[in-house]
């Protein structure tokens, strides 16, 4: 009896460990594949060609700077929309809303998260972009702003779910302690609950931004896909071309092994590295915070 229990323990422990490591393995394999297909870019085009500002692959112009700036503009815009809206909604749902309201709002937000991105892109073309063109008097409604608004809408449910769980997990004693000291509701939320849930909230923001930077279909339909270098403030109100839309639109036509093919994988590598960078930065902050908190509590 003892022996069979130990044997089962052994197997289950090893299986769970393998699943955990396999996640790292899959990410490493994906990165390895991207690198293997993307590295020949450096042999076939020069670095100065890659850093030029014209992206026109069928005539061998492989400047990826417009694509990078396009993705960054749309993602930053989406972050500016999703973070305040998402965190505000999360705070409202977990701290302020009465119980009956919370039961309605949480499922509704999850429902918004389930909306396919293609549907949002479609609504963007038909409703949002004409509205923005008229409202802001722009030449065209297919701009980075339209993409940012829609991406913010897509990222909000992610941010709300995770942040709301993080805020909920803060022990009630923290809030009670603050109230006992005479803090108002807002002071409690802003100075006690929020900082206590900081790691969870940061995770929520990171997940939301990660969702936004990887979004393909919506941006392909509403940002206009014009490979313009997006560095001025006005670029938010002009069409841009993101890295994801470029890969999606052009991967079908490339002949395997051609320079264009390698450059597209190189763009995939850049996208991967940007996401990795964001994740590493966020998790380093999270772990640093934990260590300090552990020191204080012990």
């Amino acid at each position: 009896m003892e022996k069979s229990l130990n044997w089962r323990e052994f197997v289950i422990t090893r299986l769970v460990k393998a699943s955990g490591y396999s996640a790292i393995l899959f990410v490493a394999l994906i990165f390895f594949f991207l690198v293997r297909e993307g590295i020949p870019t450096f042999a076939e085009t020069s670095l100065s060609s890659l850093l030029s500002i014209r992206w026109y692959p069928i005539e061998d112009h492989f400047g990826i700077l417009p694509l990078i700036t396009g993705s960054l503009v749309v993602t930053i815009g989406a972050g500016l929309v999703a973070v305040p809206l998402g965190l505000g909604t999360a705070v409202y749902i977990s701290e302020i809303a009465p119980r009956w309201m919370r039961e309605i709002l949480k499922p509704l937000v999850e429902l918004l998260g389930g909306l396919p991105s293609v549907v949002l892109g479609f609504l963007g073309i038909l409703l949002l972009s004409p509205f923005l063109r008229v409202f802001l008097n722009l030449p065209t409604g297919l701009t980075a702003l339209t993409g940012s608004l829609l991406l913010g809408g897509i990222a909000v449910p992610t941010v709300v779910s995770v942040a709301e769980d993080a805020l909920d997990a803060v022990p009630r004693s923290y809030r009670e302690g603050a109230w006992a000291l005479g803090a108002t509701r807002w002071q409690t939320i802003w100075r006690v609950t929020f900082p206590a849930a900081r790691s969870g909230v940061l995770t929520a923001v990171m997940l939301g931004v990660g969702r936004a930077i990887g979004e393909t279909m919506t941006v392909m339909m509403v940002t206009g896909n014009a490979p313009v270098l997006a560095v001025k403030l006005g670029s938010l109100f002009s069409p841009v071309r993101t890295m994801t839309a470029t890969i999606a639109a052009e991967m079908g036509e490339v002949a395997g092994g051609s320079t264009h093919y390698h450059v597209l994988f190189f763009i995939g590598m850049v996208l991967f590295l940007i996401s990795l960078g964001v994740n590493i930065a966020a998790s380093s902050v999270v772990f640093r915070t934990k260590k300090r908190a552990e020191r204080i509590l012990s």
């Binding site: 500002i53 014209r54 026109y56 692959p57 069928i58 005539e59 112009h61 417009p66 073309i125 038909l126 972009s129 004409p130 063109r133 030449p139 065209t140 409604g141 297919l142 392909m220 339909m221 206009g224 896909n225 014009a226 490979p227 313009v228 002009s238 069409p239 071309r241 639109a249 052009e250 079908g252 036509e253 490339v254 002949a255 395997g256 051609s258």
Partner: protein
Amino acid sequence: MKRFVLSLLAIFVFLFSTACSPASSSEGAASNSSANYIENKGSDTIVNLALAWAEKYQAEHPEVRISVTGGGSGTGIASLINKTVDIANASRQIKDEELSEAKSNGVDPVEHIIARDAIAVIVNPENPVSQLTLKQISDIYSGKISNWSEVGGDDRPIVRLSRETNSGTHVYFLETVLRLGSKEDKTLFSMDTLLLPSSEGIVAEVRQNPNAIGYDGLGYVPKDLKMIAIAKEAGGAYVLPSIATVNDKTYPIARDLYMYTNGEPTGIIKTYLDWILSSEAQQIVADLGFVPVSPDSSS
């Protein structure tokens, strides 16, 4: 627990065993003549036409199955080079680089002209401009002209719409309109040209944006959009696109539509291609807004 694990195991074994049953036909499109299956892929301009043909042909010959997909002329030709399709649809001719790539892969693309198409340049119905010369359109799209007032319209910025770079329509427009047919010219589209992923996107934007100008195949332009009459040179006659003006060559932006096969076609592919050049199939061409090609003028 043990019964649960055993039943789970049984389910997996069952699922795997169904996968082992003999597959009916699709063991790689290279072996096309063994099964009565034709794979047809490529130009989004041709895809509706190809679908209509496939449906009509399959209704009359139920033993043949034809699959049609889009993806752009570039995609179709790339698939032909990779030997994954039998017929590649293209709204532009195969490029020299693609031809050499095909040769190095052991593929010999043979060209068949199956219809003709006109490229219509469309603007919003509110736009007062209704005629332009080819040079003016070239200057608009290359960025030299940026305001409608420079071509006789209102004081509005011009928003240029185009298909994506993998589209044969895009490449044809680049060579014939932007570069005015000259091979040495290296003019490119203006950097702020919007590259929309579908014809529907172009139509939707032109329909509601008075600043927009776009282009697409004649078969994809709905009747309520305003087409521009185009003159080859300043002072020439301004011509609207139609079957008549394409066939008598007065409309300057007309092109042939192609289907490419690997080598001369044989068997069911040959029968299908012969049927496509018959009057019955060419009537479908006319119904869909393209221009029929008669069997003896296919050069």
